[in-house]
């Protein structure tokens, strides 16, 4: 089954990827191919199978809540594309009144 153009656009939006027209076409082909391949898993009855999310289950790894050394603001910001006043700077997300 081939993905519709609007389905590809929806996936691209959720993925936060801006695709050109040829990229949308290529994504439709490649995603449709691999989603078709995933149908193979339906050959298996997994009705009574527990899911595995980790090969070696670990639960509730805790540590003492103590203050330790961590990155300084300068170090944390050294790779930021834009920063100001010890903060990461982004385009306005809240409209002014």
């Amino acid at each position: 089954m081939r993905l519709l153009p609007e389905e590809v656009d929806h996936i691209a939006l959720l993925s936060r990827l801006e695709l050109s027209a040829p990229e949308r076409e290529r994504a439709a082909n490649e995603l449709s191919q691999i989603l078709g391949y995933f149908e193979k898993l339906n050959e298996l009855d997994t009705e009574n199978v527990e899911p595995t999310s980790q090969a070696i289950p670990t639960v509730n790894v805790l540590r003492e809540d103590v203050v330790t050394l961590s990155l300084t603001p300068e170090a944390a910001l050294q790779n930021a594309p834009e920063s100001a006043a010890n903060m990461f700077q982004v385009p306005r997300v809240v409209e002014a009144d």
């Binding site: 691209a12 691999i34 391949y37 090969a55 990461f88 982004v90 385009p91």
Partner: protein
Amino acid sequence: MPLTELTAFQIAAQIKQKKVSCREVLDDFLARIDAVESRVKSFVTVTSDEAIKRAEMLDKRVASGEDIGVLGGVPIAVKDLICTRGVRTTCSSKILENFVPPYDAHVAERLAVEGAITVGKANMDEFAMGSSTENSAFFPTKNPWDLSRVPGGSSGGSTAAVAALEAPLALGSDTGGSIRQPAAYCGCVGLKPTYGLVSRYGLIAFASSLDQIGPIANDVRDTALLLQAIAGHDRRDTTSIKREVPNYLESLTGDVKGLRIGVPKEYFAQGVEGYVQDSVRTAIDKLCELGAEAVEISMPATEYALATYYILAPSEASSNLARYDGVQYGLRVLEPGDDIVAMYSKTRAAGFGHEVQHRIMIGTHALSSGFYDAYYSKAQKVRTLIRQDFERAFEKCDVLATPTAPTVAFKIGEKTEDSFAMKLADVCTIPVNMAGLPAISLPCGFHETDSSNMPIGLQLIGNLLDESTLLRASHAYEQATDWHKRRASL
């Protein structure tokens, strides 16, 4: 004999005995890099200046009688997704092209403590997604055995560096075969440890439930030596296993008497070249001559592993890679009038290569509302079936033997237009990551192609946390053969 032809084990011993200095060893490797790097292209960044300073510092410590660690003075290549403080770490991606980590990964700290000298950050498939290193945003790495062929991937730069004698050791990472498959293609030894044996702190994440850092070397002893240096608990990785690390070098006894080797028939099937099957069968016969016993077994869920992997790994990746949004680090594309969603979408479209975008979209779709049960949840259940196949196998076997890859290294450009054909290169290695098991690839023969004689890989798979048995069997095989002594002529 140039010092580049020594093993890491020999180098560390000679430095300790003051027969050579760290600086002399390093100079030989830097000269070798100068001589071959323009053809092989193993490294994104060669860190000569830092390495020279470090070698001189280590030599002073040796002179004052200090023990400088089990890797004292040994040069090493580090895959460029392992964070190194103050040294650019790119993941071979444009989105991290100028990223300089403010901290060291756990394994980078371990290398420093044990006296290793990092000579460079090795090329890879972007974000470790690929099987040929052609997905690097910068340049493809070449196979030292035949420069018209790929080194495998995603740890292609790390492995090519070892095969080309640019470094005796390398660190790679393995999510679906990214250490073992390039090791097979380049005639090296590569080990993916048990999930949780080596801390992932500071490893740039691809698929967190599958990723594991591991050693690449030219023989089993060096592989064990590097594993020893990096294994062990680290509280900064909550999946890190709390357990005393065995002495891996002591496990290299050469004795495989009574070892039960499982041979799963599903790995000797259609799609795996006859010459690969023959070499692997011959290797199993060799182990049996040494006293091991082969047991034919069946692992029926194997044929579903590839589809399962291509749901689970992209799903985890789509979440992990959400952080590359032009805010905290890396590339930002922002044009006048853009809102924040436009900034995210343009940044990610410009910063990620095609394969990474493809996998982000697969994973995003698999996790999205209305599709989660059909894809992600289904794949998690099939993962259980794959894991149970291994559990049953290890009830009657000590290790399993399979091919590492279905073919020898393919030609550069041969599979770049067909991302599905590329994925089949990992069909023998992927199931192991699903179950979190340790596995190793060893050279077990060569195949004459139209342009060259290419190495073939034997994969041995061990039970959880049983790296010792895996290394013991590998070492016994290696002692009885001489494939590992062959070197690419460059």
